[in-house]
């Protein structure tokens, strides 16, 4: 694909997603109606809903999708594994355990989100400790993440077995990926943190290029264990921040980096920004679809991304059958 075409796609995709995200929902509304809420205008109910409900949600979906996708791209390169995703280090399991514990103990909305983030951080700290103290890397780190996820998910199941049914319902909705902004998280700070983490990860694009060639090659090329750990830490923090914004949204961090790699190639200088734009746009579109497909019901966005991801991987497996 030539450079100009790639650049136009990069600009058009988020615009299309933004338009769809603002227009689609329980009623189709023109995004231009927002202007009726300018000073002096006669702001309608529909415009108010677009401005105060859909716009924050679109922004949240954009940042969460971008964070998941960039995190997935980094993990796939670090572990040289096409099935690596942002939750490989047990971040989602930690968050699920945190939120489950908070919900059944009747904590307030802000404390619930703090517990979710705390759970994610716990997983990150444990994985980082395995890596730094015990010197576990590569497949060992992946297996440690899987083991942590099992421990966390078993703990969540234990909580489910003892919790009231309404609490279980609430947790499950969040676990399915819920972008319905409840006004209890500091969205601005989280989005700024995501931007900062993505930028720092982008600065490591040369390291990622080398790391993706294999650990032996990256060591001989001067990428230290510390730098590798920083990359893993940044990717994990991005995943944790995305979980805080929208719960556990599957497949975005697994599928979008694959697609981005098909367009941008393996060079992380292009792959990281394209993954961010494509991931954000994909999640905005998935969320718009989830809001508008069976009105007045709202399907969790994670269900839509799960369907898309599943179909994508089936096609991927069929297409690449000889190599797999």
């Amino acid at each position: 694909m030539n450079k100009r075409l790639r650049l136009s796609a990069l600009l058009i995709l988020p615009l299309v997603a933004l338009t769809a995200g603002l227009s689609l929902g329980s009623e189709a509304v023109s995004p231009l109606e927002i202007f009726s809420c300018m000073p002096g205008g006669d702001c309608t109910l529909r415009a108010e809903v677009v401005l105060k409900l859909r716009l924050p949600r679109v922004i949240i979906a954009m940042f969460a999708g971008a964070a998941l996708s960039v995190s997935g791209a980094a993990f796939q390169s670090v572990f040289r594994n096409p099935l690596a995703d942002p939750f490989i280090t047990g971040v989602s399991g930690g968050a699920a355990l945190g939120i489950s514990a908070a919900v059944i103990t009747d904590m307030g909305p802000a404390a619930v989100m703090a517990m979710a983030f705390g759970g994610s951080l716990l997983a990150i700290v444990m994985i980082y400790a395995f890596s730094a103290v015990r010197g576990i890397t590569g497949s060992g780190l992946v297996l440690s993440g899987v083991a942590l996820s099992f421990i966390f998910s078993s703990s969540v199941m234990l909580i489910f077995a003892m919790a009231r049914s309404e609490d279980v319902h609430r947790i499950i909705i969040w676990l399915m990926g819920d972008l319905s902004y409840q006004g209890n998280i500091p969205v601005t700070w989280i989005c700024l943190s995501i931007l900062a983490a993505m930028f720092i990860l982008f600065m490591f694009h040369r390291h990622l290029d080398i790391i993706s060639m294999g650990r032996g090659f990256s060591l001989s090329s001067g990428v230290s264990d510390f730098e590798l750990r920083v990359v893993i830490l940044l990717a994990s923090v991005l995943a944790a921040l995305a979980v805080l914004l929208g719960g556990i949204i599957p497949f975005v961090g697994l599928m979008v980096p694959h697609l981005a790699r098909m367009v941008a190639g393996p060079d992380h200088y292009r792959l990281v920004p394209l993954s961010a734009v494509a991931g954000g746009s994909f999640l905005v579109l998935a969320d718009a679809f989830s809001r508008s497909v069976i009105v007045p019901y709202e399907i969790p966005a994670g269900v839509v991304t799960g369907f898309c991801g599943g179909i994508f991987f089936l096609l991927y497996v069929i297409k690449n059958r000889p190599e797999i």
């Binding site: 109910l45 049914s165 006004g183 009105v295």
Partner: protein, 286 residues
Amino acid sequence: MNKSISGYNIFIVIFIALLFLLFSVTGGSPARPGSGSIKRVVSLSSSLTDQVNDLGAADMLTGVTMFNPGYRGNAVVVGSYVRPDMERIIALRPDIVLVSDEDSIQNSGPALYFGLRFFRSGRVFNFDDICRGYMQLAGILGRGEYGEQRVELYRQRLELVKRPLRAPRVVFLVSVKPLITASGSSYINSIIESAGGINVFKNEKSAYPILGLESLLLADPDAVITMMEGDRDFLVTRLKDYSRVRFIRNNNIFSSGDGSIPYYTPGRYVEAVETISLLFAGIKYE
């Protein structure tokens, strides 16, 4: 080959025959009015516990599930309505086990399997359905006449409820996180209509559909009623900026409380209608 297939078929026939034998020995049966004297009752539904209580038969209860408002007896708690403890139920040697289709997760499966006699209350959609189930239970407990008197009393109370002159368009929220409303397939819709209101989401297929916040706001009802007081406070805080939405602008977000609505008994139904009609009287219009 044919020989081995026929041997296999014989094995299946014997297996099925054994299963029949097992169920004929251990299978439970639904109870019928007047089908033997009942002294020991285990109730796996808070609403049915409340009905037994209301029929003046609380002393028959030997086992109940958790959360039973109004019941002050000493019956053993046999788990939650979602997960009853069958071992504990069997140990109580009940004459009858009460289960309900309305508590959707429940069914008579475990009672059937362990050969216990059971009463299964069907789904309820309105006051008449609730009264029908109540009278069946009264008959089984040998309190048919008393049950009839109670129902007549509740009917009279229901007729005395004051309905508003202008029927308000309302949304009833069972939960706000996630937003779950009650549609025409639930008895809560009947409570709203009995109190003189119109349920905005009456025509949804599911009894308790999960709504998007957008759908709630764009439906623009006259009032929103939450079941829990905390949910009302959450909505007031969360939605305060939507000044163009009628129920927010007019501060028409109310809480019914959870003392009567979750329990489908004739008495609680009437209490719920009285509560909702009082809330309707407080709705402000422009």
